[in-house]
Symmetry: C2
Subunit: 221 residues, 2 copies
């Protein structure tokens, strides 16, 4: 049985869960409080972070390397275009969300509001929260610009880029930090991806001490 060591609101774990869901790969989820540095976990993964996927007899870390592996080993349904230009654009956008969006938005909102409490590292830094709330507007506008002339974020087909973006946004939506009124095309895109079967487990997540808002799991939000 495949096993994923994860935390529920981690966008990197959510991306792997969504991709496995799309490819109909069953996986047992094991919650891993990686910040407690359990020696067994560190042996499994010297980078000391989640996700870690146990699959095909191997322990795998780094969400993007895992997703590319899943795409190569389980190519149906495809989540990458076949041409090099299209694949470049998918990878550029995955990096955009997992690096730039993560640094400017997710780390400043989710990690301040939720992870600090879970990890016991103090109160949110309000200047970070303010910067994150400002930056997400710019990112939603960028997504609007992309989706205004593309069906999916990286082009005409649904791809890893959509799941990378949806992983971050869904985690932020859990704490009501996404203004869905800012762009109708972004909201439509999220409504479409949110209604996929792969999303169901994500929408059922519950973090003790942080009940999700009613709209979080509502497909008609």
């Amino acid at each position: 049985m495949n096993r994923l060591f994860h935390v529920p609101l981690s966008p990197f774990c959510r991306k792997v869960r969504l991709v496995m869901g799309e490819k109909r790969l069953e996986v047992e989820l094991v919650e891993e409080r990686y910040w407690e540095q359990d020696p067994d976990f560190l042996r499994r993964n010297p980078a000391a972070k989640v996700p870690v996927l146990k699959m095909d007899g191997k322990m795998m870390a780094e969400s993007s390397a895992i997703c590319e592996y899943l795409e190569e080993q389980y190519p149906d349904p495809a989540l990458m275009p076949r041409d090099a230009d299209g694949r470049y654009e998918v990878r550029r956008l995955v990096a955009w969300f997992d690096d730039k969006f993560h640094h400017e938005v997710t780390a400043k909102l989710l990690y301040e509001r939720v992870n600090r409490k879970l990890m016991g590292t103090g109160y949110p830094d309000s200047s970070n929260v303010k910067a994150g709330a400002k930056a997400i507007k710019y990112h939603l506008d960028y997504m609007h610009w992309l989706l205004d002339h593309r069906r999916w974020l990286a082009g005409d087909v649904m791809s890893l880029a959509d799941f990378a973006a949806a992983a971050h946004l869904s985690a932020l939506d859990y704490i009501s930090d996404v203004d869905w009124n800012r762009s109708a095309v972004v909201k439509d895109w999220y409504a479409t991806i949110k209604s996929r079967p792969a999303f169901r487990a994500i929408l059922a997540d519950q973090v003790p001490g942080f009940p999700p808002p009613a709209h979080y799991a509502d497909l008609d939000f």
Copy 2:
């Protein structure tokens, strides 16, 4: 003509330069002081960072997406194994160096000592420099462990992982922040990769105000 917007000591730019050099792709280098936020540059690249590669009529950003594109479009010589397991390991290690090593070492040594002065953002933060100097030892030990039972970092063939690692280490070596006496196998690995023709331009780099030490360009260091 291909054109790379870069800064000389950026490990992400160096990785692209090394990969293009290995594949014998000519490229004109244009130094881009991206932190000055020139509007022309921002138009070329909304992520506002380097490298940006102008190639095949496109503007490309995100070093890992660029390297995967180069590998797909110019597969000779191959810098990725053909099997999914091997490719996973290359991507895991590229992410290790570009994410973890970058965050724990490069940002804490190179960016404190050099980028702050170039960008005019004050003096190095000594606690960061101290943390970086401590972390690089652990990373060199991890490389030692990998290279002790592998010919190259990700396995038996030279790959993008070696160039990602060499890009970071070469930039740190420019400011004498790598203790080559820590591991003979790591030093041998670097000596081999340093002697490749693709490395020549990297070894000729000069940053005004920061003359490199004599051993930097010496193949017998």
